[in-house]
Symmetry: C2
């Protein structure tokens, strides 16, 4: 079997679990090479302080079979970063699967890769997708042709297993699930805005307000830039 | 509120998601400082190739309120590593919570910290716990007094949320769960040996045989050493 090149973009102030969840799955796919891609080969510091080491750069990265963009507060700046958006578009136009976890979907969107597609993202940023011509779908893993987008953070594990089954077969994905003992039992019922206690949801919204406002502003600007980017 | 020091041991050939799952939770606990601890401040390479950067050392680490040991193939060597076992015992004897994810429980066991306690670990290594005087419990998160041990790999997320609620309160843990959109929907039903298709379970056991045999051998030796370690 041919080697499968899977590339995950990593970047400052990303949410590390958006990446490390699916990474654990991808790295266990037979014949897969997983690349961690950033501008320079120097550690990027996640929103929670974890350092991650890139393995390749935007210019050094081989042609990818799968491109995957994680999310987190740091994705806001990426939507207006011409180097990143150019890289994502070039790779996305030729990849077998164009994918994201959490608000990484908005980077795909800014690169014009979700126009006319259904997509998922973190629940609190779902309404940003429409600016990029995508149809938001409130689902944990959204599959529309070769676009596969996961919901927020931990949805990356579900997404990773779905993608693993497509790249290999169901039995291989099930074996990885068994290794990872992915048999979840959340101790609380607060994993979505529909189930969270109203006071918890209100506290979250208050905490995230500044970030969500800025994300919306940049999404709006990036969506106006989208055609400009595309002419390059 | 006082600062809470949470220390996660990291080590070569660990399974990164054992650590990065609970890390995502811990780092979002108000007033928590999360330490990544290894012998030297140089990257450790996980079993899947991911590099992780320690933030402190065995000798430089402050007194921990929580000590947490992740698992993975690399934990086998730790069970006979006097420096690591000494560190885990010293910290464990004074910590508020002594915890693990996956086969990290066997490192707690080798340090004598699970004798007379109920504990969980990765399903495929569950029978090793008895060598260290622990009572294996087939559960996702096992709480026995101040010992809190998670099952395999992804159980670290459930474990992390349970611990967060104990260190703070339920509403804080629920807010973190909401941020992480931890509302899991595994695409397959293969997360435990009870649910996995028999052929998948057989393939896993065949793949893991060598590692599991070596783990059992070292567990046996380490359990005989346990009293020797304790006299130091």
């Amino acid at each position: 079997m041919d080697n499968i090149h899977i590339g995950l973009l990593i970047f400052p102030r990303m949410t590390q679990l958006d990446m490390t969840g699916p990474f654990e799955v991808f790295a266990r796919i037979p014949n897969a090479t997983v690349h961690l891609i950033w501008k320079r080969i120097e550690p990027v510091v996640c929103d929670t302080g974890l350092s991650l080491q890139p393995t390749t750069t935007l210019s050094g990265c081989p042609k990818l079979d799968v491109i995957c963009i994680p999310g987190g507060p740091g994705q806001i700046d990426l939507m207006e970063d011409a180097d990143v958006i150019g890289f994502v578009r070039r790779q996305g136009e030729q990849a077998r699967y164009v994918t994201s976890v959490c608000t990484g979907a908005l980077v795909l969107g800014a690169a014009g890769l979700l126009r006319g597609y259904k997509a998922a993202t973190h629940w609190a940023s779902m309404d940003n997708l429409a600016y990029f011509g995508a149809q938001a779908v409130k689902t944990r893993v959204c599959i529309d042709r070769n676009r596969i987008t996961g919901g927020g953070v931990t949805a990356g594990i579900d997404f990773g297993l779905v993608l693993a089954s497509k790249l290999t077969d169901t039995a291989t994905a099930e074996k990885i699930q068994l290794y990872m003992e992915y048999n979840p039992e959340p101790p609380f019922n607060s994993g979505s805005p529909d189930s969270a206690p109203p006071a918890v949801l209100a506290a979250f919204n208050e905490m995230a307000k500044g970030m969500l406002t800025r994300r919306k502003e940049v999404t709006l600007r990036a969506s106006k830039q989208m055609d400009g980017f595309e002419k390059k």
